[in-house]
């Protein structure tokens, strides 16, 4: 009896974790469009499945960032700036200093791009500090009461969705290729791939080195952010599900660790964007 009860409780821990790791996926299930009710259904949806929860949160946080910075920017004063204005100016100057020292060419896109990347990723990562069930349970109750949708999954940290992080890094990759071709010409870009680091007689060898390096940039950029946040969120889930009342100090300790990772990953994403785009603007050596 005790083992059966224990087995039932163990299953619930597994189910709890799987429930909190699933997205609210919208796609084609059995021929008609709707939300996935189980992770297996979500997997069957294939390519045209949209994670509505992370998409909604990422758009909401992006809009919040834009409105906040714009409203502070419009009301900015030189004499007696408010605390909020000081904060926004501090963030702006931080990104500006990094871009100035890392990017050596003239390009009006880089500054706003890096500010957006940094602060948007920072906001999305900070959602990880909200207690695990606080918003998720609320949404589950809301969906069950209003729509009759039982056990609705709801993830509030968009950067734990590889779609969001890879989407950002693929966009940065497209910018790298665009600026490389714009500044070096398509011949220059391809010859840089084919004739570096050895001469042109070693072209296959050069390609074997250069092409994976090129593709490793967006893959590592996106997966680095995803992996860090996924591991952090998973640890919060494990602490929440397995420790009973001891979870409260354990949550606090892990949150203090995680507070370092949250801005650090945003900073690393921004810095790597600056470094890659700077390299894309470099003229070829010959």
């Amino acid at each position: 009896m005790a083992e059966a009860a224990h087995a039932a409780a163990e299953q619930t821990v597994q189910e709890y974790i799987n429930h909190h790791l699933s997205f609210l996926t919208f796609g084609k299930v059995d021929g008609h469009w709707g939300f996935a009710h189980t992770p297996e259904e979500a997997m069957e949806m294939g390519f045209w499945a949209v994670n509505v929860d992370t998409l909604g949160w990422s758009i909401f946080l992006g809009a919040a960032f834009l409105l906040f910075f714009r409203s502070v920017g419009k009301r900015a004063t030189v004499d007696a700036p408010s605390g909020i204005q000081n904060f926004v100016e501090a963030v702006f100057e931080f990104v500006d200093a990094r871009v100035s020292e890392g990017f050596n060419y003239k390009n009006d896109l880089i500054g706003p791009l890096c500010l957006t990347l940094f602060f948007w990723i920072l906001l999305m990562n900070t959602m990880d500090l909200v207690p695990v069930d606080l918003i998720t349970k609320g949404f589950e109750i809301f969906a069950a009461v209003v729509f009759g949708f039982e056990h609705a999954p709801f993830k509030i940290v968009p950067t734990t969705d590889p779609n969001i992080t890879m989407g950002m890094s693929v966009f940065v990759f497209l910018l790298i290729i665009y600026y490389s071709i714009k500044n070096k010409g398509i011949g220059g870009f391809l010859s840089e791939l084919a004739f570096h680091p050895f001469g042109k007689w070693m072209m296959p060898f050069n390609l074997i080195i250069e092409v994976p390096t090129l593709f490793a940039k967006p893959i590592s950029l996106g997966l680095r952010l995803f992996g860090n946040l996924y591991a952090g969120e998973l640890l919060f889930l494990l602490i929440a599900s397995m420790l009973g009342y001891w979870q409260l100090p354990a949550h606090f300790v892990w949150a203090v660790f995680h507070i370092l990772v949250i801005p650090l990953q945003a900073f690393v994403f921004m810095m790597l964007t600056i470094v890659y785009l700077n390299a894309a603007h470099d003229k070829p050596h010959h």
Partner: protein, 85 residues
């Protein structure tokens, strides 16, 4: 099936363990160099610290990717899905 579960567990632990090993050694060397550098030129310490955190984020990268893959194998083992399907 039991063999798949057992070997998956071993595999995940290897991924996590070796990731932790590499990261720890990397951070140790990085931190040591930072301390040396800032002892030589204390006025450069803030700049060095910024660069140190940048490189720390990079060192973490593949370890975290490994953790992600490890957790994927633990909770949604694709080999079990192949067995079932």
């Amino acid at each position: 099936m039991e063999m798949i579960l057992a070997f998956t567990a071993l595999g995940v632990l290897l991924v996590l363990g070796m990731g932790a090993l590499g990261t720890a050694i990397g951070f140790g060397i990085l931190g040591g160099k930072f301390l040396e550098g800032s002892a030589r030129q204390p006025e450069l310490a803030p700049k060095l610290q910024g660069s140190m955190f940048l490189v720390a984020g990079l060192i973490d990268a593949v370890t975290m990717i490994g953790i992600g893959i490890g957790m994927w194998f633990t909770f949604a083992n694709p080999f079990l899905a192949t067995l079932a399907g």
